[in-house]
Structures are given as structure tokens and as C-alpha cells.
């Protein structure tokens, strides 16, 4: 029984070896070697140069802001979703997931067309004699792109833990005289924290590493750490430096993961 069960995981093990483990080993190999193949830590320490640390700082700043905005938008939405009737609920979730049926790049390009100076939004605004919206090629446009693209990754894990909360707990709190705010703070929020942490990770990590959004909506004017790494691979051809910086970025992400594992003891939030 257990042996045949193990056999079932073979395809996935093969998959992860081929597409996760081997590439990861290569990143580590390149990250810890120089052009001549000898061991070095310089590629990792390169993060300390003013350009790289600034790019990392910019990336952290933008992704933290987007994560917070996502959280503020997603939590109330997840609460509403978890409280409404089933038929409506699946429809709303469908609306929510619908944009994800289209490719991520296309959706971001669409925002470019919407936000451009002579774009769709500004044409409408100028037809209504309203002042033009000038956020394309600014950090605001990048944050908009991040929030738009990653919001579902915040909503779904939170929604998932919220529907599992025993409604009797909430009823009991209300029976015992707690008002809405108190019930939320003492019952709903603590019980949903695992979903929140999981959502934060799922938004923060891709936002931190993205390079496409900053290129398409930021006009390449704001250098994020993802852009630096991408350019080391595609333009500059210094794979060693690119890998070294990737490893540093991975350390950040692992730190974030550890945080979420520690708080999310029952692992419910990951079960989406």
C-alpha cells in the first residue's frame, strides 16, 4: 500500500528534480563562483554596492506598499465573500478569477494602454473635461500593477480560512455581549491570521521579484532588484553576479517563509 502510494509521487519528484532542483543547483554554482570557476562570495556581497542596495530597497518599498494595499482590499472582500449565499458566492469568485484566465503579461500591457497619456482613461477624462491622470511611468503605476496582478493571491487564502471559522464561536461572542468590533478583534482576526500570513507571502514574494511590471508600467525608470538580475542574465551576460543577487533575494524570501511557517502552525492556509 505505502509503496504504491510512493510510486504516485514519482512524476512529481522527477518534475521537481528536473525543473527545480537542477536549476537551483546551477544558480548556487554560478552564484558562488567567478568567471574562472573559482569559489567567491563577491557576487553575494555585490548587493552592498549603492546601485544594488538601492534597487533592493526600492523593490522592498514598492512590494511592502502593494502588500499592505492588497491586504486592506482583500480582507473586507474575503469577509463579504465568506458571509454570502453559495450561488452568489461562486459567481463573485468567478468574476474575481476571470482576469486570471488571460495571460499576466497581456493584462499588464493592457494597463499600459489604459494609463498612457493618450490612453483610454485619459481620453475619457478629457472628454468629461476632467484633469488628466499622469501616473504611467511612475512608482504609483508599478504599485497599481502589482496590486492588480497579485490581489487574488491575497483574497483566496484569507477567504479559505474565514469560511472554516466555526460560526458558533462568533455567535457565542455576540451572545456574551461583545460588539462587532470586539468580536472581530478577538475571534475572527486571530483565527484568520494564518491566511493573512500566507496571503502576505504570496503577494510579497512575486512583488519583490517582479521585473516585468516595473518595465512595462514604470518605463524602465525605476530599477528594481528583479530588473538588475534580469539584466545581468540577458544583457550584461554576467550570470555569476545575477545568480549571486538571486541568492540574496532568496534569503529574503526564505526569511519571509519561515515567518509564515512559524505563525501558520496548522498549515490550513496553504490548503488552497
Amino acid at each position: 500500500m505505502s509503496k504504491s502510494r510512493k510510486m504516485l509521487s514519482l512524476p512529481f519528484l522527477f518534475w521537481s528534480a528536473l525543473f527545480i532542483l537542477i536549476p537551483l543547483c546551477m544558480v548556487f554554482y554560478y552564484g558562488f563562483t567567478d568567471k574562472n570557476g573559482s569559489f567567491t562570495l563577491q557576487n553575494l556581497f555585490a548587493i552592498a554596492t549603492p546601485e544594488h542596495s538601492k534597487a533592493l530597497w526600492e523593490a522592498i518599498k514598492l512590494s511592502v506598499v502593494s502588500t499592505i494595499i492588497c491586504l486592506l482590499l482583500a480582507y473586507p472582500l474575503a469577509m463579504i465573500l465568506s458571509n454570502i449565499r453559495t450561488a452568489q458566492k461562486s459567481f463573485i469568485i468567478l468574476i474575481f478569477i476571470l482576469p486570471m484566465w488571460m495571460n499576466f503579461l497581456l493584462r499588464t500591457l493592457a494597463w499600459q494602454t489604459l494609463l498612457e497619456k493618450k490612453g483610454v482613461i485619459n481620453s475619457v477624462l478629457s472628454a468629461l473635461h476632467l484633469p488628466a491622470l499622469n501616473i504611467i511611468n511612475t512608482p504609483a503605476a508599478i504599485i497599481l500593477g502589482m496590486v492588480y496582478n497579485f490581489l487574488p493571491f491575497m483574497v483566496l487564502p484569507i477567504y479559505n480560512v474565514l469560511i472554516k471559522i466555526d460560526k458558533n464561536l462568533i455567535h457565542a461572542a455576540r451572545d456574551l455581549g461583545a460588539n462587532g468590533v470586539k468580536t472581530f478583534l478577538h475571534i475572527t482576526l486571530p483565527l484568520s491570521i494564518s491566511g493573512v500570513i500566507s496571503g502576505i507571502t504570496m503577494v510579497f514574494v512575486p512583488a519583490l521579484t517582479t521585473f516585468v511590471i516595473s518595465r512595462l508600467l514604470g518605463g524602465n525608470k525605476i530599477l528594481l532588484i528583479g530588473n538588475v538580475i534580469e539584466q545581468e542574465f540577458t544583457v550584461t551576460g554576467n550570470w555569476h553576479l545575477g545568480s549571486g543577487l538571486s541568492i540574496v533575494l532568496m534569503l529574503f524570501i526564505i526569511f519571509n517563509m519561515v515567518l509564515s511557517v512559524v505563525t501558520d502552525k496548522d498549515g490550513e492556509a496553504n490548503a488552497i
Partner: protein, 355 residues
């Protein structure tokens, strides 16, 4: 299993027989592996080549010189014919990646390509041993006549505060620095630290005054057509296309000089089909074929026979497609500057972007 294999082979044979009727059978004379820029050939010409010679073309595309090089260097995919730009050809020659060409096998390349283009190629291929020019052009300023009313003749307009947030710059290191180096009166192949430092400061100044709307490559075309920006730095080959779409656009070569670039066919040393590769290059140099390609991609052709055959008089005499290079001063061809200089450029580039 054997039966299946047998059937499969029969099917392959049958298919070859079916597709091969008319002209020569495709593939009967082997294959040639071609690696070219994206959107840089009329696909019809490839089919014509296959039909006339019986050589199968395996065609791949790249989007930057820098992305192409590691693939060729690694040698896993053995390309025969590649079409890199000037400075990259220089680099590939120095790295010993290219094979010498035998022009006796390529009469069209000898006859049809204008002598001045071979002369220009000497900047990166001193003895004209390794490359046959395919497309060439300049880099200049594309501006919108409705937004820019003053005469445009200098790179300095890209630093004019009137056009704040209205300027598109190139997002590739050499092209970006070329503009600033030329404006400062220096060579765009400079490896002088002070000159590069000055160019970097110029670019940072331009960025900090928010003159630049975006750093882009191919998108310059669409943004200029869509009236998104007043001024953009663009390749001359795109200029004809954009003007067709938006007649308000005008292209100029700045008086401080610019980059004259050439993309040329070269043959890889580790390719296995040198004979077919030479046939392919020669075919592309045929007047009618070069004309088809010119009309398809609108990048200037160095093929004098094709230039003669162009029917549209406006295009044939177009100063954009075929500028008389003697009219301009300080035109230069990019050279490969060595790894150290490359690293220096990249470091300065990063500084520009992090400011």
C-alpha cells in the same frame, strides 16, 4: 514497436514525397541552421530558397546580440548562418567563433553588395573575410511635427526642458551612451573614464529633470505612432514604417554624428553545413530576394541591385532609407571594446538607472 517504427518511417517518406513535388525535394541537399533577428526577413524568401536549392532551412530568432552570443558560444545548437551586428561580429571574430567566407562561392554577395558597405564593415571586420552586410542604417531622432515646431538638428534637444516627460530614450547600454557621448563631442567607442563619466552625468541629469518619459526599445515605434511622446531615439529602419503610419513624424540624423550600424551574415566555425550556409547567404544577396526583404522589413539594404529595383520613387530616393553618408560628419560604427570596457559601460549604465 518495430511495426510502429516502420509505419512511422513510411509516413515520413510519403510526406516528403508529397511536399516535395514541384521544384527540388526539400531536404535532399541537407539542411542549414539560420539564426536571425526577430521579424528580420520575409518568410516567403525562405520557402523560395528551400524550393530552389532543396536545402531545408531550420530558422531561429533572437532579440538581442547579447542573448544570441552565449547560445552560439555554448555550441549546443550548431548554427551555420547568423546575422549579428557590427560590434558583436568584432567580438565573435576575436573569440574565434566565425569561419572565413569563400566569396568565390557567393557571386551575388561579391557583385550586388555596394563597395562602400564593405568599406564600412572594415571597422569590425578589417579584411572583409567574415561578414556580408545584410541591413544597415543609422540611429537618429524621430520627432512629432505637431509637438516640436523648432528645427531639430542636434542631440541637445533631448535635454531641452520644454519636452519634459516627452522624450523616449533607447533602453540598451551602447545606444543610450552613444547619444550622450556624441553630444559631448566624444567618440561613441570611447573607453576613456572621464568621457564616460561625463556622459553618465549628462544622462543622470536628463533623468533627474524628468525629461525622459520611458526607456524603451521596440515600443518607441508604437508610442511615437500613438502620439505618446514628442521625441524619440530610434533606428532608421523603423522610421519609414512609423512615417507610413503617422505622417506627422519626421526623422533626422543629428549634426553631432551618430551610429551607423550594419547587421551582417556570418558563418559559424562550429556549424556543419558551410556549403549550404554560403548558398543561403548568396541567395539572400540576390537582387530580387533582397528587394523582397527590404519591402517586408523596411530596413535599408546594402544591395545595390535591390536599391535599383525599388519601384516606389519616394522610397528609392528617400534620405532616411538611403542617406548619403558623406553629408554627415562624425558617423561611427560600434566596435567591440573588450570585456573590461563592457563592464565599465554596464556599471555606469546601472548608475544612471539607480538615480
Amino acid at each position: 514497436m518495430k511495426k510502429f517504427l516502420c509505419m512511422f518511417l513510411c509516413m515520413v517518406l510519403a510526406m516528403q514525397a508529397l511536399t516535395g513535388c514541384g521544384g527540388k525535394k526539400t531536404g535532399e541537399n541537407g539542411v542549414v541552421y539560420v539564426y536571425n533577428w526577430g521579424e528580420y526577413i520575409d518568410p516567403e524568401t525562405i520557402s523560395m530558397f528551400e524550393e530552389e536549392t532543396g536545402i531545408t532551412v531550420i530558422y531561429d530568432e533572437f532579440d538581442t546580440n547579447e542573448a544570441m552570443l552565449p547560445k552560439v558560444e555554448a555550441g549546443a545548437s550548431k548554427y551555420d548562418v547568423i546575422c549579428p551586428s557590427d560590434y558583436m561580429i568584432d567580438k565573435m571574430i576575436q573569440k574565434g567563433l566565425l569561419a572565413e567566407l569563400n566569396f568565390d562561392n557567393m557571386p551575388n554577395a561579391k557583385k550586388n553588395i555596394g563597395a562602400q558597405y564593405y568599406e564600412q564593415s572594415k571597422g569590425f571586420d578589417p579584411e572583409n573575410k567574415y561578414s556580408v552586410p545584410y541591413c544597415w542604417g543609422t540611429v537618429g531622432i524621430l520627432y512629432n511635427k505637431t509637438m516640436v515646431t523648432e528645427p531639430v538638428d542636434s542631440w541637445s534637444i533631448l535635454w531641452d526642458e520644454k519636452y519634459q516627460d516627452n522624450i523616449l530614450m533607447q533602453d540598451s547600454v551602447r545606444d543610450l551612451f552613444m547619444v550622450a557621448l556624441k553630444l559631448n563631442g566624444h567618440s561613441m567607442n570611447s573607453t576613456n573614464k572621464e568621457e564616460l563619466e561625463a556622459a553618465k552625468n549628462k544622462l543622470i541629469e536628463q533623468k533627474q529633470k524628468s525629461l525622459v518619459q520611458a526607456y524603451v526599445i521596440d515600443e518607441v515605434r508604437d508610442k511615437m505612432i500613438g502620439n505618446e511622446a514628442a521625441i524619440g531615439v530610434i533606428y532608421s529602419g523603423e522610421a519609414i514604417f512609423t512615417q507610413r503610419q503617422n505622417p506627422d513624424l519626421e526623422y533626422v540624423i543629428p549634426k553631432e554624428g551618430t551610429n551607423v550600424w550594419i547587421d551582417s551574415w556570418v558563418i559559424c566555425k562550429n556549424g556543419e553545413n558551410k556549403e549550404n550556409a554560403e548558398k543561403f547567404i548568396d541567395f539572400m544577396c540576390r537582387g530580387d530576394i533582397a528587394l523582397m526583404n527590404f519591402e517586408y522589413i523596411t530596413y535599408s539594404t546594402p544591395n545595390t541591385e535591390a536599391q535599383r529595383l525599388i519601384e516606389d520613387e519616394d522610397i528609392r530616393n528617400s534620405k532616411i532609407a538611403f542617406p548619403n553618408l558623406d553629408d554627415y560628419e562624425n558617423l561611427e560604427v560600434f566596435r567591440y571594446l573588450g570585456e573590461e570596457a563592457d563592464a565599465m559601460y554596464n556599471a555606469y549604465w546601472k548608475e544612471v538607472f539607480s538615480n
